[in-house]
């Protein structure tokens, strides 16, 4: 049967990574819609507990490849095991995280299988597709939806003729939700010996340096985010002061990160993190669609911008028209006064 398969990457603690749980949540919806099984692939070493932790997310079958040569992640061992598994199982859909692992592995798999792959999807749906030239209709096709080029369009990509249909999704874009705490799936061991004999030699990991996560804006309740309109790295310091005062985390647009105003870990949007804080204060942000994709689910949005027509204002609850370098200190002063 042609099922939905999620490649589940592991965290440094050998647990299922959040992105994989988010994909399983989405995968469960797709599998239910398609009337097929949700399957997961867990490749690593000592991963039985991690594999079983997937059941509450509605996973029916967990393919487990357990071998020391599969951890830490290296491209070719995972490629060899997963590509053989996909060839044997013939899933109709395969989902990967758009992480440094998923973005390394998925394209190599897609190339091998000669199938399509859409990167950084912000939405996945099932629907029909009629080929504009042949008028042939395809039912139950995966709509791979993502903002595209330049930022002012949303593209729906389909792969009508090739299987599996593959997509990557950034962490935080989909919601992670337990489907049923009592859900029971099955572990299906995968034989790896034949795959790993040759693949093991090509690339050797000499050392790894895992950094403590210094910046994590994903879980922040309040976010103060700066765009290119902040003007400089020095001006960006004001956002840090502002954030310290009101107990917020500092985020940024891609333009601000590219301009060197702050660290890449702070980037919010389609190619950064997706956030859902209770308050989002957008400072000098025009509001490209890629940025909005990462923050528009914030409960309340305040925009501070000199441009009354900035696209971000259209999704803001409050728009303060003015220069960030003037308005933010004013805002801070008023906040302090009102706390007294």
């Amino acid at each position: 049967m042609n099922n939905v398969l999620v490649y589940c990457e592991l965290s440094e603690k050998n647990q299922i990574a959040d992105i994989a749980l988010e994909l399983c949540t989405k995968g469960r919806q797709l599998a239910t819609r398609l009337g097929c099984r949700l399957q997961a692939a867990v490749l690593g070493s000592g991963v039985k507990a991690a594999a079983e932790s997937l059941y509450p997310y509605g996973v029916d079958d967990v393919f487990v490849a357990d071998d020391p040569r599969l951890a830490p992640y290296r491209t070719l061992p995972h490629f060899d095991v997963l590509s053989k598994l996909i060839q044997a199982q013939q899933p109709q859909i395969v989902l990967f995280g758009a992480s440094s692992v998923g973005r390394d592995l998925a394209p190599r798999i897609a190339s091998f299988l000669r199938c399509g792959l859409t990167a950084d999807c912000t939405s996945l749906e099932i629907g029909s597709h009629e080929d504009p030239k042949t008028k042939k209709t395809y039912e139950n096709i995966l709509y791979q939806i993502r903002p595209a080029f330049g930022g002012n369009i949303i593209a729906t990509i389909v792969c009508p003729e090739t299987r599996p249909q593959m997509a990557t999704v950034r962490e935080g874009v989909m919601k992670k939700e337990v489907f049923d705490p009592a859900y029971k799936g099955t572990i299906i061991p995968v034989a790896v010996e034949a795959s790993l004999a040759a693949a093991d030699k090509a690339v050797e990991i000499l050392s790894r340096e895992i950094e403590e996560q210094k910046i994590d804006i994903k879980g922040a309740q309040i976010i103060v985010a700066g765009g290119y309109g902040m003007g400089s790295k020095e001006n960006f310091q004001l956002l840090h002061q502002f954030a310290r005062l009101i107990g917020a985390s500092v985020g940024a647009t891609r333009a601000a990160v590219d301009a060197g105003f702050c660290e890449g870990e702070r980037q919010i949007g389609q190619t950064g993190v997706t956030v859902r804080p209770k308050l989002y204060i957008a400072c000098g942000i025009s509001g490209a669609v890629q940025h909005r994709a990462g923050m528009e689910q914030s409960a309340k949005i305040i925009s501070i911008n000199t441009d009354p027509d900035a696209p971000i204002n259209a999704i803001a609850d409050y728009t303060i028209i003015g220069d960030v370098m003037t308005v933010i200190p004013q805002f801070m002063a008023c906040y302090k006064n009102n706390l007294k």
Binding site: E12, P107, R108, S111, L117, P160, V203, L206, A314, C334
Partner: protein, 266 residues
């Protein structure tokens, strides 16, 4: 000992300067309407290739790109910066290619060069951000890949050692050649064009290669060889909220902060 090195590069629309005519009706990019630049991470890849050449004199660096004839501009730029030669895969039959068809064309072109030791490319291009072509070329050539490279650590007779970015941290890996390496923006900036080279190479034409000269299966090229189809393009309709517009007066900001505090949002 010397190496045969290929750099994969792309001339990309400058996404900071996008106009309304940037897209064609069929959902492909209207490249003619846009100013172009050398894809930034491909320049970093070129620098890493040139660093290998610095360390191992006698090595050659060939830059390969696919695109319209004007993509020759980046080949010239790369030569001025130190690449030995390069060519453009340019043919209407390549047009409309997604990453799968692109990687097929590039890999066939690389095969025509004979044995290659190292292939460098940017991790991703700024017009699509897919990061797919590098790993796909590696698969098609059946060689290992090292993605997200930040630093060339060492090179010896048969291996290259690279520091690469992980989700949380970095790792140092040693790969046996031939290998394909994709390079991120954290790697060293590319050296500037050299004035002597610019003068010396100014009149050297850039080779154009068409689909007939790469021993390709025509069904695997261009739009025809691309499994991904654009079903629909929608202009973004902003979820429109009734935004309360405030002038930055003390009274207005006072009221706003007071109400946010009262609602336990601040």
């Amino acid at each position: 000992m010397s190496y045969r090195i290929v750099v994969l590069a792309k001339q990309v629309p400058d996404t900071h300067n996008v106009g309304a005519d940037a897209m064609n009706a069929d959902g492909t990019v209207n490249r003619a309407a846009l100013p172009t630049v050398f894809n930034p991470e491909d320049l970093k890849a070129l620098e890493m290739a040139l660093q290998v050449k610095d360390q191992v004199p006698g090595s050659t660096v060939t830059v390969v790109t696919m695109g319209p004839p004007r993509a020759a501009e980046i080949i010239k730029d790369a030569r001025n910066r130190g690449a030995d030669d390069g060519f453009v895969l340019s043919d209407a039959r390549f047009a409309g290619a997604d990453t799968l068809a692109t990687s097929y064309a590039l890999s066939q072109a690389i095969r025509q060069l004979g044995p290659v030791d190292l292939i460098f490319g940017g991790r991703q291009a700024i017009d699509g951000d897919t990061a797919q072509v590098g790993p796909q070329v590696a698969e098609k050539l059946d060689i290992p890949q090292v993605t997200y490279a930040e630093e060339l650590v060492a090179i010896d007779a048969k291996t290259i050692t690279i520091r690469r970015r992980l989700e949380r941290g970095t790792e140092c890996v040693k790969a046996t050649m031939p290998v394909l390496v994709t390079v991120t923006s954290a790697a060293d900036d590319c050296r500037f064009p050299n004035a002597h080279r610019m003068i010396r190479l100014a009149k050297d034409e850039v080779r154009m290669i068409n689909a007939d000269s790469i021993d390709a299966d025509m069904d695997r090229l261009g739009l025809k060889g691309s499994p991904t189809k654009v079903k629909q393009i929608e202009n973004v309709v902003l979820a429109h909220k009734e935004s309360v517009v405030l002038e930055p007066t003390e009274a207005a900001l006072n009221e706003l902060t007071a109400s946010l505090i009262k609602e336990h949002i601040l």
